[in-house]
């Protein structure tokens, strides 16, 4: 018995090696396998290559993404066209605290080296603070001009995060600063409400600084002075966020989320869902088809009638309505997809099964009094396994697109990040209208690339298994 098993294993090994030898001949098949391993590698390396490792749990959490710029383009766009300010945190500060008993004077400054064509989206002063605080922030520009940008009183009984935007909070003062240099025409066109204050702050003090300023490069000194009134008033850990025009490999969306992190986190879900749906549904379909073929006659007729009813169900619409009503988790969605998609390979497998049934070794098995299930699983199913693999490979892309389509409508599992979810956000956030291409292209490109990967593998297998397709 043991000997029997080992020879069987040898045989399997031999046939796998043979298959691989043939598979190697198909170039795009190899490309597919290579791409597959790239995706696997990306899944394994996920925690090391994404800047926001908590993306999986906190994709929908606004606080997690708060310090990112909104709608920032990818960093590499700087190689084409204008050089846009990058995202930076400036923590280095010469903090000086004078304790005057009932009040503290806290002074400090940040140095920002501005060397771009386009200014950052905003400068945000952040600190932990408590008590009665009067904060003044001024900016000392490279041309020696000093602008007091923000002056604000903050009162808070408990400790909290202070966040002051120089762009919004300083719009009026910066407008007034620019007024001294700007032409009458431009002054009429812009008001303190619609002036782009960062253009003014980082532009040369000359005519046109509201409209299209010449960038004033150099070191900017952002001075802050805080008067903390009251004994337990305090300010800790001040830092400056330079909110970049560009951010990360794939930029950010309207909710400040890093798209690169989201897309990379989506790989594993696409792979998992695609593979599981493909494997389960093809297995069910294969067993169904073979069983119908093996028994034939009335069983076959009944099974085929049931199959025909299933064939008449439009799958994606049913899935959409089911998802709209039951708002399923990813696992329930997977189950529903398996329940609908098993019918795919049935017809092909059944017609193969009808041929296999007539083979002499099946007759021999009958003569040896083998049970039905033994004949089906031991003698017939192994014959169609190669075909099943090809069928599975081609079903993976379909499953991924289906999940993405359901998610696109906003019916997906919102607790995880999938490519469809990201595209749903893009669709709802008006990415197409606003031209935020970095929000739309990467997730879809990943869907398409993963589909292509499995298509390469599946078509290559198909070519080997279908000698008729061979080029003469």
């Amino acid at each position: 018995m043991r000997e029997d098993k080992s020879t069987k294993w040898e045989e399997t090994k031999k046939s796998i090696i043979e298959f691989w030898q043939e598979f190697k001949q198909v170039k795009y098949g190899l490309v597919g396998v290579a791409l597959f391993f790239v995706f696997v590698l990306l899944i394994l390396l996920e925690p090391y290559i994404i800047p926001f490792p908590e993306v999986n749990d906190r994709w929908g959490d606004v606080n997690y993404w708060e310090e990112n710029p909104r709608k920032a383009a990818p960093v590499w766009t700087n190689y084409f066209g204008e050089y846009k300010a990058e995202h930076e945190f400036i923590r280095e500060t010469d903090l000086d605290i004078k304790d005057l008993g009932k009040m503290k004077m806290i002074n400090g400054s940040f140095i920002y080296d501005f060397d771009y064509d386009l200014p950052p989206k905003d400068l945000v002063f952040k600190a932990n603070g408590k008590g009665n605080l009067n904060i003044t922030i001024e900016v000392e520009r490279p041309d020696g001009k000093i602008i007091e940008v923000v002056r604000r009183g903050i009162r808070s009984s408990g400790e909290r995060v202070i966040s002051l935007s120089l762009g919004n909070g300083g719009a009026r003062r910066l407008y007034r600063f620019a007024e001294a240099y700007e032409s009458e025409e431009n002054k009429e066109r812009f008001t303190a409400d619609n002036v782009r204050s960062m253009f003014v702050l980082f532009g040369e003090a000359a005519e046109g600084m509201m409209k299209k300023p010449v960038p004033l490069v150099g070191d900017y000194k952002i001075n802050y002075s805080i008067a903390a009134v009251g004994e337990d008033s305090m300010v800790e850990d001040p830092y400056l966020i330079v909110s970049g025009q560009v951010f990360g490999l794939f930029g950010t969306d309207t909710s400040k989320r890093d798209i690169w992190s989201g897309v990379i986190a989506g790989i594993k879900w696409a792979m998992l869902l695609g593979l599981l749906v493909a494997i389960i549904s093809v297995t069910i379909g294969a067993i169904y088809g073979i069983t119908a073929a093996y028994f034939g006659g009335r069983v076959d007729t009944i099974m085929m009638r049931i199959f025909e009813v299933f064939r008449g169900i439009p799958m994606l619409p049913v899935l959409i309505v089911l998802s709209a009503i039951f708002s399923p988790s990813i696992w329930l969605l997977l189950l529903m997809m398996c329940a609908l998609y098993w019918r795919g390979p049935v017809l092909t497998i059944r017609s193969m099964g009808l041929q296999i049934r007539e083979e002499t070794y099946i007759e021999a098995a009958h003569a040896l009094d083998a049970t039905h299930s033994r004949i089906i699983f031991k003698h017939m199913i192994p014959q169609v396994i190669p075909l099943c693999f090809a069928s599975m490979a081609l079903r993976v892309p379909m499953a991924i697109v289906i999940e993405a389509s359901v998610s696109l409508l906003g019916l997906g599992d919102s607790t995880i990040v999938t490519w469809g979810q990201i595209l749903h956000g893009a669709m709802n956030g008006g990415a197409v209208l606003q031209g935020l291409w970095w929000w739309v292209i990467p997730p879809g490109l990943f869907i398409a690339t993963m589909g292509m990967t499995f298509a390469f593998i599946g078509f290559a297998m198909d070519k080997i298994l279908n000698p008729k397709l061979k080029t003469r």
Partner: protein, 346 residues
Amino acid sequence: MFGRYIVKRVFFMLLSFVIIIFLYSAIFNVVMDQTLRSQIHEMVQGEIMGMTDSTPQEIQIYREQRIQTLYARYHLEDPTLQRIFWRAVGILKLDWGQASMLTSSNGSRDVFKIVVEKIYPTLLLFGIFAILDVTIGVLLGMKKAQKPGSKLDQSTSIMTMVVFGMPSWWLAMIFIMIFVYTIPIFPSGGMGSVPPPEGFAAIIDTIYHMALPILTLLCIGFWARAYMTRNIVVGTLQEDFIMSARARGLPEKKVLYGHGLRAAAPPIVTMGVMSLLMSIQGRLIFEGIFNWPGMGNLYWIAVQQNDIPVLLGLLATTTFVYLAGLAFLDVIYGFLDPRIKVGGKQ
């Protein structure tokens, strides 16, 4: 003989439809009951608002009686199985109830009216797409089959695989960004301009609005059609009668289009109808990106409004269109290839 075959196909199609409707009715029983109950309560509340000169007691009695009659009319008090049965019968009798939010173009809240007016745009869009898809696909496929293994054959086969898993709606989003907002040559969506032009201009206007959606679908679609045609024709070209035709010295063009294509016609026609059906069942939501006022767009709107009755009506319609397509497919297949005896004795 053929007539009997058609009748049989249509009968089985209708039977499948009835069974599927019963399945839907069973799956969506609970949620439909809830919707119907809340609709009844809303309606009765509305009636009571108009009864200004009644005592509170009268109103209370009226409310209870009215709700009871309405519950009885819609079989809401019956046991589950009977409710499933009556709902399925209702759907089959085209009594699809009232929408919770949406209305048809002339303001009716009848789900049937809302859904039915969306069939034409969908069939128009996907029908024209399928015709172009099959024409281009078959022509390219024949070219591919002429010289299997050539540069053209290989490169177009690779293209088939490249676009294999590409969602059509994603490409639509990209194309809209490029061809509507960056280089404005196409309208952003919809089926016609506002105000609608008249006469011949109206047709031009519709074609203009249809151009980008169809272009998008074609970019993904015809490669697969060409690939399948190629495989079928390459298989046919290995048959003996082709060899004999070649041996007789017939020109290669005639061998290919006269003998090869004719023999390969049944599967190719199947493929064309399948292309339309697959688009209808798999690419419907594509319409939503272009605001094309068809069934796919209605899926989007109904999902957003959470309008369950409309969703179910849509589902019944989609299923019917899909099943009718499948039956049609079987019928022409039987017509083109008399060897096919579906359900016949072996």
